[in-house]
């Protein structure tokens, strides 16, 4: 058996880690925090040149035709490197949705420029404070003209395209909308994690093109969320390990009462618990990666398990990292808050743990008898 990534995939990890360490990390995240909204654009183009955007896209559409495992490796490193670019929204959600439901003509037209980084794409589901369920989505599509207000939309102020979930045909439908066209007004909205910017996008008769069959929108979204949950879990797990590393480094270097604070059991036991949470998350991520790459029947359960574990791990590691840094951890200058912000934005972006715990238990209730 081989329950691990291949040497080629580990090579991709090494490449990604050193690229992100040199070009991304805290310095870039901080530029976005300081309001430089275009700070990630160069990085995104470079990622496209490295082939990352098209990792999971078949070669006929300009991609690399790699499987889900390569995307998992990249996602873990994006989390570790605090990558701010809209790569997550594009590669975990929007591009897989186009691949799954787009017409042949749509794939031919859009995937190559998306993979090349000439176009960027996001997904627009939420409509304000009520959680995203069919009852709470009111955006309408009449004769392919879209009207409604979506927020928060990740990277919505800068993306070229959005896959917009509309409330029609009972089950909802996705429409592809060019956000630079007439009928679309968008504005940045203040976000807890400005390195993952959010926008309010208003559609007033904007031209859209249906993606997928009418009425299958919510079903498509559920399917894409199971796929994306694995990748977000890898990103969260990577972030958890980075926060743990930062906390350990500090606990070894910082002295109080004449010795390193990491020598106190009150501190080292906390770090051990962070390691336990991050390790459980990592192992569950690996299983989910296997389920994703083989399109196994276990995917919904494996994805929810990885997602719930990784959300808890990143939340814990990011919070306790600040605690271990003490007062300095609460200052703008020290990088702890970058993980702390990212932990929360990743924790809620495709549904919070309240949603994913419910999905997990539902998957257990419906699993086949012999799987128990």
């Amino acid at each position: 058996m081989n329950f691990d990534f291949s040497p080629e995939q580990e090579l991709l990890r090494d490449q990604a880690r050193s690229f992100l360490a040199a070009n991304c990390g805290a310095p870039l995240a901080r530029k976005l925090l300081d309001g430089n909204v275009a700070a990630g654009d160069d990085l995104y183009r470079q990622m496209a040149e490295l082939g990352w955007i098209g990792t999971g896209v078949p070669e006929e559409y300009g991609g690399f035709g790699a499987g889900g495992l390569e995307l998992c490796v990249l996602a873990e490193e994006l989390g570790r490197g605090l990558a701010p670019a809209p790569i997550a929204t594009a590669t975990y959600l929007a591009i897989p949705l186009l691949l799954l439901a787009g017409s042949e003509a749509q794939k031919r037209k859009y995937l190559t420029p998306l993979v090349g980084g000439e176009l960027t794409v996001t997904i627009a589901v939420n409509e304000g404070p009520r959680n995203a369920t069919p009852r709470n989505v009111a955006t309408m599509a009449e004769n392919n003209l879209i009207t409604g207000v979506k927020y928060p939309v990740a990277d919505g102020a800068r993306a070229d395209l959005a896959l917009v979930l509309c409330a029609d045909q009972g089950g909802g439908s996705f429409y592809l909308v060019a956000l630079n066209e007439p009928g679309v007004v968008r504005e940045d909205i203040p976000a807890q994690d400005p390195s993952r910017p959010q926008a309010k996008v208003s559609f007033d008769g904007a031209q859209g093109k249906a993606v997928g069959k009418p009425g299958e929108g919510w079903a498509l979204l559920a399917k894409i969320y199971d796929h994306a949950a694995v990748l977000y879990a890898f990103e969260q797990m990577g972030g958890a390990h980075a926060a743990l590393d930062q906390a350990c480094d500090y606990a070894r270097a910082r002295f109080a009462f004449g010795r390193a604070i990491g020598s106190y059991q009150g501190v080292k036991h906390k770090l051990a618990d962070m390691y336990v949470a991050a390790t459980l998350a990592k192992s569950n991520c690996y299983y989910a990666a296997w389920a994703l790459s083989t399109d196994a029947a276990e995917l919904p359960l494996a994805a929810a398990t990885a997602r719930v574990s990784a959300t808890k791990a990143f939340d814990m590691c990011a919070s306790e990292n600040i605690q271990i840094h003490g007062g300095m951890g609460c200052t703008w200058e020290v990088d702890c808050h970058l993980y702390y912000r990212r932990a929360r934005s990743l924790a809620v972006n495709i549904g919070s743990n309240l949603v994913w715990e419910e999905k997990l238990v539902r998957a257990l209730e419906t699993r086949p008898e012999e799987a128990a």
Binding site: N2, L280, W356, E357, L364
Partner: protein, 423 residues
């Protein structure tokens, strides 16, 4: 990623399965235990059945998988042991008598005993004819095992003079039915704690040894105290040099931490089934959001441990040494077992006070686990020691300053605790 065996692994698995099929009964369900199907649960019967099964294993070449063939083992690779374990876990197999000797005493003898001693003691250990126990802990030396006080005194000045052991040991599994034991004692109280220890193996029938069972809070008696009154041990039964006993002991302790593994008792599947059975506020408990959230949490931990084990097995399969990830297993599973036992009782509500397996849901196993799980958080490394190990060995954090550092053992403060009598 794939979960399939290599050709060699698959062949080994089929061979193991064939032998188990011919020699053991498959479990009716994954959580069925040997104890639950055993009619005569007396100690004598358990020992007899374990010895019998070991003898059959040995006759067919399935004894002591990790031992070299010359001592009666099979010389398996690490991954083959894992595969055998996976296969055996699907069968009802007598266990609990031969493992400590074969897992801990055997490897120590292989490393430190003379050729004659190996030839005398290892083969009957492999066949199960002779049972060995491990006699290390003391009432005042638990996590701080090197603080042990049993005295080893030379009877005379000759280089090969006998040793006289005096003191009291505790937490010895199987002392009553063991033929031999490995132990460690203080041969010099005037030097630092770790430096004054010497390691021996002893004949459990030696005059001066008295064994008393310890009754645990669960009501059962898995452990004993072993008292040594002027027990004479030939110098030939010393393993390792005088004063080097700690080094010898460390190797066995690492084996123990690996072997304790996951806590027994109701696990995720049992608490999930219970939640589907009982009611809460006039509704099925499984519909309650708090219940569902707890189930999700325990499933994540259970799956996380299983998948962590798979990662280690995968490393073994490639012929590599597994990473430190398995160090979390007992830490996570012992607390989980206790939490699940407690929550199981909450779900049963007022009836949870009953322990009669015929009157309470879950065959009384939740109640049993509630009383057994506290010991799981202590045996083979307490939660606190395991966190220290993770923090210091995996995360490379500095160790805590030690008040006994640099002191002769006799100068170390002891406080007012049981067993406090100077060496």
């Amino acid at each position: 990623m794939d979960f399939s065996d290599t050709t060699e692994e698959a062949a080994f698995r089929m061979e193991a399965r064939a032998w188990l099929d011919a020699n053991a009964t498959p479990k009716a369900h994954p959580n069925q235990t040997w104890a639950s199907v055993l009619e005569d649960k007396t100690r004598d019967n358990i020992v007899r059945l374990c010895k019998e099964f070991q003898s059959r294993r040995h006759a067919d070449g399935w004894a002591c998988l990790h031992w070299p063939k010359e001592y009666g083992g099979r010389g398996c690779t690490a991954i083959e042991r894992v595969i055998y374990g996976q296969e055996e876990s699907r069968y009802i197999v007598p266990r609990g008598v031969v493992e400590i000797g074969q897992g801990m005493a055997g490897p120590i003898l292989m490393k430190y005993a003379t050729a004659d001693q190996k030839a005398r003691y290892l083969p009957p250990m492999a066949t199960g004819e002779e049972i060995w126990c491990q006699i290390f802990s003391e009432a005042s030396a638990g996590s701080d095992l090197a603080g042990l006080r049993m005295a080893a005194t030379k009877d005379g000045d000759a280089d090969d003079a006998d040793w006289i052991l005096d003191g009291e040991k505790i937490w010895t599994s199987g002392a009553h039915y063991s033929d031999f034991g490995i132990t460690i004692a203080r041969s010099d109280g005037a030097v630092a704690k770790h430096k004054g220890l010497t390691f021996f193996f002893i004949d459990m029938k030696s005059p001066g040894i008295s064994i008393a069972p310890i009754r645990q809070i669960s009501g059962s008696s898995h452990f004993n105290s072993v008292r040594f009154d002027n027990v004479r041990v030939p110098d030939a039964q010393r393993l390792g040099a005088v004063g080097e006993g700690w080094k010898v002991a460390l190797a066995t302790l690492m084996n123990e931490r690996v072997s304790v593994g996951e806590a027994p008792g109701p696990d995720f599947e049992q608490i999930f089934a219970l939640a589907q059975t009982v009611e809460l506020n006039d509704r099925p408990a499984i519909e309650n959001q708090m219940v569902r959230s707890k189930l999700a949490h325990w499933y994540c931990e259970t799956a996380g441990l299983k998948n962590t084990r798979m990662r280690s097995v995968s490393a073994l399969s490639r012929g590599e040494t597994p990473g430190p990830e398995n160090s979390i297993t007992k830490l996570v599973s012992a607390t989980k077992a206790q939490d699940i036992a407690r929550f199981g009782a909450d779900l049963m509500d007022q009836c949870a006070v009953i322990t009669d397996p015929d009157l309470v849901l879950g065959d009384g196993r939740f109640q049993q686990s509630y009383m057994q799980s506290p010991a799981m958080r202590i045996a083979g490394g307490t939660d606190e020691i395991l966190r220290n190990i993770i923090a210091e060995h995996v995360l490379k954090l500095p160790s805590e300053p030690r008040a006994d550092k640099g002191l002769a053992f006799s100068e170390i403060p002891t406080g007012n605790v049981a067993g406090e009598t100077g060496p």
